[in-house]
Amino acid sequence: MAIIIKKEIKKWTDDIRKNLVVILMQTAVSKLKEIILEDYDFNLNNVANPKSNLAPENYLDEFSNRLDNFEYIDPEFKGFKFITPDMHNFDFSGELETIESILEGIVGRYVEVKYEDYVKATNKKTYRGEHKEVYLIKYDRSVRDWEKDLDKKFEDYAFSNTPPIDIFGRANEFVEENMDGWVIEAINKFKKRVKS
């Protein structure tokens, strides 16, 4: 008898969990992504020169893709665990490292130095010999000397000396505020189904 009840309870909780997953994936996740992208746009876009390869606008599509592929529900966890993206768990590897640097805050003044200028100024060639390369280099005496030698002014990096920017905080708050409501909605759906 006890085993039957236990099995039945497990079935019910699985049902509620499934309902919750559907609610979260259909409504919560899309709203959450919307909030994060809004904050990305508000805080990062239109700050740097849009022509710059390092302008955050250029990374928005990739950032959005990673948000789509983010594992919001922990499959390993025995109960139910909804994960919201933050600086610890979001995948910034590869090309999004530039965005990670901005979000963590950058200390010091930097300038954008094009590859050909870098080669001319230092007489050093790197193993990547592409024309599109841009270096972000701390603006110090030696870089000022390069400017004199090349007779040009390097462009200031727009996020120099910028404190950390939190684009995940508002989304986390949104989930915290609404999670109880979503759980109740999942239970009510289950109740409705059982009654019918």
């Binding site: 610890h88 200390v107 950390p164």
Partner: protein, 309 residues
């Protein structure tokens, strides 16, 4: 103009708790550093109409500089009664140090040079700029002092004003809510401490000490109604009016904020390293960052206070 807001009181209380309690072991000693007279900031010694004020600067070539932003000379003795556990107003006040800064005059007889200690009542110490101020009753020549090794600042823009190690306090969010039926308020501040060190070992040391100082801990919330321990010019509070350091009435008295229940509580303390790759690659673009960004860490925590009404 309204008095100091609770946010500023919390910011300052946290600042002094970290500087004078948590990081108090991160101090270094420089011995017998020569002092140089600064005529440009001293009063004219020949002018009888104004008080004599002769300023001497310590000629230290230490790196990082002891007087860089956020550092300064140590103004508290080892056991001064300023402690994290106190929650009630400090009745006797906090005394200015008498053993952290020693000033000497110099006498030369033949080939021997002798340093003679000058009484602490003969001079003022400017702890921020590393200077000694006298009224002309003595001639300081050398100084031995302890200085704060870790620069502690509360503004991101000033990180570059000092060489590492630097710790930046950043209070970046506030939530206020009720905590009981009826009156009373709970304020939760989101705080980050950003640590910039010169190498991984130093970073780990600072992280560990700061973490232990915060985890399961609290600090008093002071009202700072009389200002802070140091005056605007870096000297001890009110010292210019009374040079007698052993006089207990010159101790810095401070009270905790009335209406706040208990201490400022630190909760949800999390520490992690911030690894910004020195050489990053985006397709064919390479990005380089400086070494100040190389050994970074961040401690995040909630700063919680409970107000009665």
């Amino acid at each position: 103009m309204p008095g100091m807001t609770q946010l500023r009181q919390e910011d300052l209380s946290l600042f002094y708790y970290l500087k004078d309690v948590v990081l108090r072991d991160f101090i270094e000693k420089e011995e017998e550093i020569p002092l140089s007279y600064m005529p440009e900031v001293s009063s004219n010694p020949d002018d009888p109409t104004c008080d004599k004020s002769l300023v001497y600067e310590a000629l230290s070539d230490m790196e990082p500089s002891p007087t860089e932003r956020g550092r300064g000379w140590v103004y508290l003795d080892e056991y001064c009664g300023f402690d994290s556990t106190m929650c009630s107003p400090v009745s006797s006040g906090i005394p200015e140090q008498v053993s952290r800064v020693e000033v000497f005059s110099c006498t030369i007889s033949g080939t021997t040079t002798q340093l003679l200690p000058i009484d602490v009542g003969e001079y003022l110490v400017d702890y921020l700029d590393g200077r000694i101020v006298t009224s002309g009753t003595c001639e300081p020549a050398f100084v031995t002092y302890w200085w704060n090794y870790v620069s502690l600042v509360d503004e991101w823009a000033t990180v570059t004003a000092a060489d590492p190690p630097v710790v930046v306090i950043n209070i970046h969010g506030t939530d206020k809510m009720g905590y009981q039926l009826g009156a009373g308020k709970k304020a939760v501040r989101k705080v980050d401490l950003h640590i910039f060190a010169t190498d991984p070992a130093e970073r780990n040391d600072i992280i560990e000490v700061l973490y232990d100082g915060l985890y399961n801990n609290s600090c008093p919330l002071f009202d700072f109604s009389r200002g802070t321990i140091l005056d605007y010019d870096g000297t001890w509070y009110g010292r210019k009016n009374n040079m007698d350091r052993l006089d207990p009435t010159t101790n810095f008295t401070i009270t905790t904020v009335s209406g706040v229940i208990g201490n400022l509580l630190f909760d949800n303390v999390v520490a992690r390293n911030v690894n910004l790759p020195l050489l990053m690659t985006r397709n064919r673009n390479e990005v380089m960052l400086s070494d100040l960004n190389a050994y970074r860490s961040k401690i995040s925590f909630d700063l919680i206070s409970y107000t009665r009404s």
